[in-house]
């Protein structure tokens, strides 16, 4: 079962600090840029929606063709955004929660500047493994 999915982490200041194409479908160059564009366009919607609820998981907030954008907002207003074509909400929620734990561990590093790019290759490996597991 092939699925397209693009996952980015956007900091509080609207700067992407991590990006990954995690779908199992074949990757195309133009598709990757289109995915990022759609995710950035959805940021406005997230901003308004984030203040209306105290939950962290914001489910599907935007659509593009047959792709859906789901968002998870952390306490520090760091947004985990996923562009995907599947309908597996519980899997996506678990994926976000696990990535949230990983993100907190990265954040606790006193030498990590909050809002800067996450460059740890171990983090990248773990996120891709989680994506394969839950998505």
């Amino acid at each position: 079962m092939t699925s397209t999915a693009c996952f980015i982490i956007v900091s509080r200041n609207d700067i992407p600090i991590y990006e990954a194409e995690v779908g199992s479908a074949a990757k195309r160059e133009d598709a990757a840029q289109l995915h990022q564009f759609v995710l950035h366009a959805a940021l406005d919607i997230v901003q308004d929606l984030a203040w209306t609820t105290s939950a962290m998981f914001l489910k599907a907030i935007d659509r593009f063709n047959d792709l859906v954008v789901s968002v998870y907002v952390t306490a520090g207003h760091t947004r985990f955004m996923l562009l995907h074509d599947s309908r597996n909400e519980d899997g996506i929620k678990s994926f976000f929660q696990e990535v949230h734990e990983l993100y907190i561990k990265i954040l606790l590093n006193p030498l990590y500047l909050p809002g800067s790019r996450i460059t740890s290759s171990h983090f990248d490996t773990k996120v891709r493994a989680l994506a394969r597991k839950y998505l």
């Binding site: 105290s54 306490a75 734990e101 907190i104 909050p114």
Partner: protein, 194 residues
Amino acid sequence: MIGTGKIKQYANVLDKPLGKGKQEVSLSAFAFLFSELVQYNQTQVDNISELETRLEDAGYAVGARVLELLCHRDKGNRRETRLLGILSFVHSTVWKVLFGKVADSLEKGTEHEDEYMISEKELLVNRFISIPKDMGTFHCGAFVAGIVKGVLENVGFPAVVTAHFVPVEGQQRPRTTILIKFAEEVLRREARLG
């Protein structure tokens, strides 16, 4: 071999579980560390306000991390979106985790709409510190003010946070007040959310 107990060694910090963390940390260790922090910064700056700024920045980094960690660990992944909610979060949860007790009091300022005060009889960080007369209004609680600022700013409630000594009649040592002055946009958003 001595030392090969049942403790599992993790290759990378990302594999280690977050866990509940240490409930207690040695006060003397912290006091030494904090005094070194203050002394080191004293050699780097020329005046008192710069020193306070540096302490505040150090606290800001702590605040940003404490916010994420506590919301995840103690609040079951619920975010705070309202002013009173975040203030009581700082006043109880953050204080309890950092200093072992909730803050003494949380008051709303009488003169201005956007001012709130968290008061404490004696800040933990000031326990072993005495300010020489020639340093005037310097307050090591700038570190704690920085922590509060870090929490508030990352939650989306930007504020100017400062620490002040407030003399109390009948007591020799003055009380400490953390004054929180919220930015315009916070009040506007609060009014909009109703």
